[in-house]
Amino acid sequence: MTEQTTTTVEFSEMLPSVNPYVRFLKVFFGRKVVTFGFIIIVGLLFSALFAPQLAPYDPYEIDLDKTLLKPNWEHLLGTDALGRDTLSRIVYGTRTSLMVGFIAIAIASSVGMTLGLLAGYFGGLVNMVIMRLIDALMAFPIILKALIISALLGGGLKNVMIALGVGLISVYARLMCGQVLSVRENDYVMAGQVIGASNLRVMLRHVLPNCFPPLIVMLTLNMGAAILAEAGLSFLGIGIEAPGAAWGSMVADGYQYLLTHPVLSFAPGFAIMLVVLAFNLVGDGLRDALDPRLRGMI
């Protein structure tokens, strides 16, 4: 009897000591691959911010005496057909990829979440109209959607961001709508309505914050998808304009010299894969760390 009481006391003392943030960090960094992905993302942000300091050469400087050099100690990844240093262009390409990814996701998530919130909260006709629109957007592969929209807006990096943003809206709208439908059933939402809070207040203060965990995971995973799609578009020749550096267009440019200078295509493509991998690993890590079923296990 005495023993039992002691155990209970210890257990109940133990529970509050597990700070949710500590638990989150423990799960998150508990897996080596997630830590690996996290380090890559930090490194990428670093190289995007300090590209001028990190790149050994000017990525735009054309030097016709040094065209198509093989990798050597001066140019670690060689030079392209215009004599530009491949490594420097890859470092600058980080900026393009991350910027397009972030802004496209920002557009997609803000518009998509608003639509999903409205559709899920109000239901009925609002839901019907919004969801049929989303269905129409979803009946199309993202790359075709983005191609049409960026052709419509007239190419350029800014328009690619908008195109990808619009292309990804449906994901957020659907996820948000589903989340709202389940959160809406909670008593605290009805309580809010009963005490006379406005629809807007209930949506923003009570429903929205409770939909966040899966959305955060989706945001991270979609960074990878957006970067892949941007790479595909710039491979097809849409987006970045000369002499700007984007990994996809570097792969396309290098394709012509594949037999003699494979590194021109191989290196930027590897960079794409690494970035997407990093975002996917961190996304998976976040999902595990935010998973309520894992609570109390650590």
């Binding site: 691959v33 894969m273 991998l277």
Partner: protein, 318 residues
Amino acid sequence: MGAYIIRRLIQAFFVLLIVTFLIFIAMRALPGDPILIFLGEAETESTTEEQLQELRKEFGLDKPIMVQYANWVIGVTRGDFGESISYGDDVLTMIAESLPITLHIGSLAFILSAVLGIPAGIICAIRRGGNIDASVTLTANLGICVPVFWLGILFIYFFGLKLQWLPIQGYTSPFDDFWLSFRKSIMPVFCLSVFTLASTTRQTRSSMLEVIRQDYIRTAWSKGLKEREVIARHVLKNGLIPIVTLKGFHVRLLFGGSVLVETVFNIPGMGRLAVDAIFNQDYPIVQGVALMTALIVVLANLLVDISYGWLDPRIRYQ
């Protein structure tokens, strides 16, 4: 069930109307003039305004947008998709020539991803934490990150140029020369399927793991069923719904991937047709391709939804 399918088909019809209407508006809002692109710079100089008007009239571009759209929809119901502005060919014929190529490569990729991905995911789930699981999961994690166009270039370099095992470009119909067609399609099919294969493996693994810890699986084991029966009849059957949902998404993804794969391997499929048409602002082709893609995607989604009831009889359609 019948009522459900009819209602879904009506919904699908409206979705297709919205899709085509959105694209119709979008294409007309483009800053360029397709007639000028069609004529090319040299001819534009020598063409008078009256002649331009004449051409616009010929392609029906002089009417209000709503009238143009209504005419197009009426035409489609009669099997008339209009004429390509840049080639002058019948759009339906162009789609009929390119769609089978995309479907050939795409369906092989789809089958490959299911036939390899589902068993791979099952094996990973059964041998969770083992060496096979670790290496397959790692490969699958890489597979969902790899840019398809880059993978295609890697393949072309190693298997085409260096080892000279496989032809690197073009498309041959299996009805013309089966063996050559087979050899030509290996690399495109594999590239196209990589993402779907990897995500099928990941999804299968995680939904198997989800089901394996259920009580009824423990019951199945404890009543002495063989491993094969437990996996096939109890685990797989109950874990199949998320996998089928994913395979539904894959239909759309494969159309997107074929745009890139067809560019890399120089395959004259519908993806390539779409890209060229978008660059040339060839409205009728973009419209036609959009309609075909959306139609197939919407039908695939409908099939997925219908299959839920078959996979899990508890699901009822209203």
